[in-house]
């Protein structure tokens, strides 16, 4: 990594850290300071869990091939937070929620989330380690998808939350769920999986929305502050793209004099 990239990386991390910490303090004092735009999938999730509880059928959560220790570690943590919010609601059901993973590194995290969900409801006695299922992925994750299509019927799943790392094999899982009249909320960090989720899921999440589960379903100040920090970084990226574009357009119209004028304003040339 060259020195410019190092400095940029440190600046971005520091900015995100400062915004996260400072905004969280403001939101603790004034909880309505930052209004969240409605996201249909997050509005629907509590209802999906409620339907599962009423039908005495399990909710199914799946991380796909999301893992810890690899490139998508942070996606795994964000998905786990979203799952915790759903599992906490589903923990009161007689039919325990199911969590499926295909990467073994996600198993300890999954157990932790399930235990935390039951403990938060003071129902730790109902926790069963068999609520977490590991299905090995195979070379193209299709074996995992095939296992899930069978599980959806065998375990009489009510609704599915498929948020993590999925490729086109998500189509098989979603298709199996739809044929059994099960609801599907889906999102993936892979573009192919994201496209399938948009087309086939009842409730798709797009892009960074899948990282916002904690803020929308839990509403803690630290999670909401994280959204503010993302917004700040997003605006910086927009400015970083717009300013060079404006300079290039200005130069094309004014025959190169625009950038010269800016350089003189900033004290150069």
């Amino acid at each position: 990594m060259d020195s410019t990239s190092q400095i940029l990386a440190i600046l971005i991390l520091l900015l995100a850290m400062v915004v996260s910490v400072v905004v969280a303090q403001f939101i603790r004092r004034r909880p309505n300071l930052y209004a969240l735009r409605p996201i249909e999938a997050y509005q629907a999730l509590p209802q999906m869990v409620g339907e599962a509880i009423e039908a005495n059928q399990p909710m199914h959560f799946s991380l796909g091939s999301a893992s810890l220790g690899g490139e998508n570690t942070l996606l795994t943590l964000a998905s786990a937070e979203l799952f915790y919010q759903g599992m906490e609601r589903a923990a009161i059901s007689a039919a325990p929620p199911l969590l499926t993973v295909s990467d073994p590194t996600a198993i300890p995290l999954g157990y932790t989330m399930l235990r935390q969900a039951y403990r938060s409801r003071d129902l730790l006695g109902r926790y069963r380690s068999s609520s977490l299922r590991w299905y090995p992925a195979g070379p193209r994750s299709l074996a995992f998808a095939a296992a899930l299509t069978a599980m959806l019927g065998d375990d009489r799943v009510a609704n599915n939350v498929l948020v993590g790392s999925f490729g086109p094999e998500l189509a098989l899982i979603t298709d199996a769920a739809v044929r059994r009249n099960q609801g599907v909320l889906a999102a993936s960090d892979q573009l192919q999986g994201q496209a399938v989720a948009f087309v086939m899921a009842d409730q798709p999440l797009i892009g960074e929305e899948l990282f916002a589960g904690g803020a929308y379903l839990g509403g803690s100040p630290t999670h909401i502050a994280g959204l503010v920090a993302t917004d700040v970084l997003r605006w910086l990226v927009i400015l970083a793209m717009l300013i060079p574009t404006a300079v290039a357009v200005g130069d094309a119209v004014l025959d190169g004099r625009f950038s010269q004028a800016i350089a003189r304003l900033l004290g150069g040339g």
Partner: protein, 212 residues
């Protein structure tokens, strides 16, 4: 006591996280610091490999419970348990030199069973996708749905090797190069920014995985 344990675990995780971050940012020039970071990453990789054992135990215990309780689909669980034991025994015999050959029986089993089945499933994915697109239009006719269908048709028709479809091929190329590429980059940028913020949350100890 539980809180104390959680706090200690969080402190260790945050400490090592910051140490690794600084080590990676400073690069190989930092000498010992970078070497220690590399060792930490190797330890993480070994830990990840060990988690496969947890996975196998989970798989066996889930299917054994299903078989014992005679739950729906217990026959498949029996098949899975027998297959697992068979493959473990086969690999053990290969390692002991009792069974041999090139390619090894376990790799033949893998190639002829798992790869074939996965290839067949890959073919099914296409039909599931087409049905999904049809279902989307049947479920809700929205602006996004119409745009999706029009673009899909343009891309599919533009890919046909038929004469007189030159204009559609140009439209397909433009769609793939400009709006599709821009949209994909937008989604990836959004994910990248949210990932940075999630990383910061982990580094400052705000993540739920630290709590007990």
């Amino acid at each position: 006591m539980r809180r104390l344990n959680a706090a200690a675990a969080a402190a260790v995780a945050i400490g090592f996280g910051l140490f690794t971050l600084v080590g990676l940012l400073s690069g190989p020039e930092s000498g010992l610091f970078y070497a220690l970071t590399t060792v930490l990453l190797q330890v993480a990789a070994v830990t990840a490999a060990a988690s496969i054992l947890i996975g196998i135990l989970n798989l066996l215990s889930v299917h054994w419970t299903r078989l014992k309780d005679r739950r729906k689909g217990w026959g498949y669980s029996l098949l899975l348990l027998l297959s697992t034991l068979l493959v473990l025994a086969l690999v053990a015999l290969e390692r002991l030199g009792v069974v041999g050959g090139s390619p090894t029986p376990s790799s033949i089993l893998f190639e002829s069973v798992q790869v074939s089945i996965e290839s067949a499933l890959a073919g099914v994915v296409f039909f599931a996708l087409v049905y999904g697109a049809y279902r989307m239009m049947r479920r809700r006719v929205s602006g996004a749905g119409i745009l999706f269908t029009v673009v899909l048709l343009a891309l599919l028709l533009g890919s046909l090797p038929l004469p007189g479809l030159g204009l559609l091929a140009s439209v397909r190329d433009w769609l793939a190069a400009v709006p599709v590429s821009a949209g994909a980059r937008g989604i990836l940028l959004g994910i990248a920014l949210a990932t940075v913020v999630t990383g910061v949350r982990v580094l400052i100890g705000q993540d739920r995985s630290y709590r007990e």
